[in-house]
Amino acid sequence: MSAWLEIKDLHAKVGDKPILNGLSLTINAGETHVIMGPNGSGKSTLSNVLCGNPHYEVTGGSVEFKGQNLLEMSVEERARAGIFLAFQSPTELPGVSMSTFMKYALNARRKAAGEKELDAVSFMKRIKIRAQALDITDEMLKRPVNVGFSGGEKKRLEIFQMAVLEPDFCILDEMDSGMDVDAVKVAGSGVQIMRSPERSFLVISHNTKFLREQIKPDHVHILALGQVVAEGGAELMDEIDRNGFAGFLKEAVA
């Protein structure tokens, strides 16, 4: 199996503060990985660094995505290459409807790939089918992106965008936070539908119940102080349920 995403000895900082301190991680095509860890362990930094958020500075290490040097690519080049981030707190875009936003996003990709813009009919078909599957109404698609939606609705709309854009590598940052039980199920089923041998997932969450029931990961990594301190299968979550992160933290300090 080929490595889809390969992170080696990654160092990154925000301002003067180092957050990632030699993080290494390999994710193969079709796999679903989970990252867990206490607050401040670098989970969200990792997702931002993978997407190229200019707020974070990479100070060492390498990231390869499908054989390309990810760190040399701009934010939009990474997105067009297939990296998608479902944001923990999605940003408001007043006056920009979700359908307009998706039209811009899809066409930007197609343009970069030298393809023609989608015609209106195919575009509407593409978004309608996915909207229905995620309980998203036409009215929600007409409203401005993330303006006036509940936390759960925003998260569902993130999954919707993921479904529309069909990325190769999906990062879900604290997707279950702010969602009620039903919304979590809808989002979880969205993720399940999208699983494919040609797509990998990196899921950041604290919620082992959500991970077990909705995500069903292949691999679990524990992050502490900006490093991976433990790796394993779903059984690692049992350990966290029993003892929290304390045991893993000791390893990081040592």
Binding site: H55, E76, A105
Partner: protein, 481 residues
């Protein structure tokens, strides 16, 4: 009733060419301004005595006036004696072909998708634009005439409908109004005249493109629209493609009269040449636009998208005289590079139960300055009058300026004025979010700016709105990263 839409796109289709008169006449007045020049203009246009008198009165008054300096715009002094006021000879400055036109301008036409044959006209190339669509024009005109609608140049109106012109000329914008309006009153060359008779709903959107036999109206354009009782008209001015013009100073007047139960919608997309990246060249646009809601239940709506000109000085206004009359002003003003725009509106409430809405969206980028200036006044008799204004500014980059200067005068305890304004920038989070979805930084900015302007863009006729959206992207090019 479904309206027949005649859009800019139709205008540039193969069936219609601009009706520019290209014969270069030898009869030009020399540079400069004096009473003889005005008599010359009037004589050339075979004007009646009263109109010559109007011009001369205006000119004499203009001599006593000073150029206004209160606007937040700076430009080198204008030498009013160094301007041709009648039929400026164009052959010396007119490019012979597109090869002689500024390549930057041509690039912009490319981006906006302006058809080739139209580019020549826009760039002011001396082509023999063969007016081969006389039939289209005639059909169009006949259709309007059947309903009694008058749609012609103001020069024609002076000849064919002198009573109407005489009755309303200067009735909304008197020649004493301001320096530029006064100058225009003395020397205006041409413009559009529209009259919609009682009870008639104009079946199509009237556009300057379709002004039959339109002469190049030049720098001192004069437009009059009269909507009689219970009539309706939607008028479109301008075009999204940048127009080149050898005249740097433009001082137009638009006068609108709206009678009982009538409605006028006036939409403008202004994209005159803004000058180059260093602020050289570019048009000075000093316009006086005002409408009088004279009748009961009259309604006047101004919508403008201003992206062009080096300096803009423009305040489309409504005088709400008739009881229950309504004024609206929806504006997007975008400035980039060294552009300066000082624009806004005046809503003068005189009648009872009059209402007005102002929505202004200003976007400043580059080293530009963008000012909203408005006046809302409640007269003593304006019982229960209402105004609401929303003025938002968006800044892109740290070298531009956004200024909001609303004047409000409340003089009636049953009237209310409400004004809200915000100023903000495009946040890093918004940019990152859009780019993470695959948009380039420029696409992200244009998407966010179009979202910011949506409330105004929605007020434009459909085809105009589509073009204006594209125009936003082109105008803001180079403003990020």
């Amino acid at each position: 009733m479904t309206q027949e839409k005649l859009s800019a796109q139709d205008a540039v289709s193969d069936t219609y060419h601009y009706g520019f008169e290209t014969q270069v006449s030898a009869e030009t007045a020399p540079k400069g301004l004096n009473e003889d020049i005005i008599r010359f203009i009037s004589a050339k246009k075979k004007e009646p005595e009263w109109l010559l008198e109007f011009r001369l009165k205006a000119y004499r008054h203009w001599l006593t006036m000073k150029e206004p300096k209160w606007a937040k715009v700076a430009y080198p002094p204008i030498d009013y004696q160094d301007i041709y006021y009648y039929a400026a000879p164009t052959s010396a400055t007119t490019p012979k072909s597109l090869d002689e036109v500024d390549p930057e301008l041509l690039k912009t036409y490319d981006k906006l998708g302006v058809p080739l044959h139209e580019r020549e006209v826009l760039a002011g190339v001396a082509v023999d634009a063969v007016f081969d669509s006389v039939s289209v024009a005639t059909t169009f005109r006949e259709k309007l005439a059947r309903q009694g609608i008058i749609f012609c140049s103001i020069s024609e109106a002076v000849q064919n409908h002198p009573d109407l012109v005489k009755k309303y000329l200067g009735s909304v914008v008197p020649y004493t109004d301001n320096f530029f309006a006064c100058l225009n009153s003395a020397v205006f060359t041409d413009g559009t005249f529209v009259y919609i008779p009682k009870g008639v709903r104009c079946p199509m959107e009237l556009s300057t493109y379709f002004r039959i036999n339109a002469k190049k109206s030049g720098q001192f354009e004069r437009t009059m629209i009269i909507a009689d009782d219970n009539s309706y008209v939607s008028y479109l001015e301008g075009c999204t493609a940048p127009q080149r013009d050898e005249n740097q100073l433009h001082a137009a007047i638009v006068e609108i009269i709206v009678m009982n139960d009538a409605e006028v919608k006036y939409s403008t997309v202004q994209n005159w040449y803004p000058g180059d990246k260093d602020g050289k060249g570019g048009i000075y646009n000093f316009v006086t636009k005002r409408g009088l809601c004279k009748g009961v239940n009259a309604k006047l709506s101004w919508t403008q998208v201003e992206t062009g000109s080096a300096v803009t000085w423009k305040y489309p206004s409504c005088v709400l005289m008739g009881d229950n009359s309504r004024g609206e002003f929806y504006s997007v003003a975008i400035t980039n590079n060294y552009q300066q725009a000082d624009t806004g509106t005046k809503m003068i409430h005189l009648g009872k139960n009059t209402s007005s809405t102002i929505v202004s969206k200003g976007i400043s980028a580059g080293k530009s300055q963008n000012t909203y200036r408005g006046l809302v006044k409640m007269g003593k008799a304006a019982d229960n009058a209402r105004n609401f204004s929303q003025c938002d500014s968006l800044l892109i980059g740290n070298q531009c300026g956004a200024h909001t200067l609303p004047y409000m005068v409340g003089g009636n305890p049953t009237a209310s004025i409400e004004h809200e304004a915000t100023t903000s920038k495009i946040s890093d989070e918004q940019l990152f979010y859009c780019r993470q979805r695959g948009l380039s930084a420029e696409e992200a900015v244009s998407l966010i700016v179009n979202g910011f302007c949506k409330d105004v863009m929605q007020k434009l006729p459909m085809e105009f709105a589509v073009e204006a959206t594209r125009l936003v992207a082109v105008t803001l090019e180079g403003s990020v990263g």
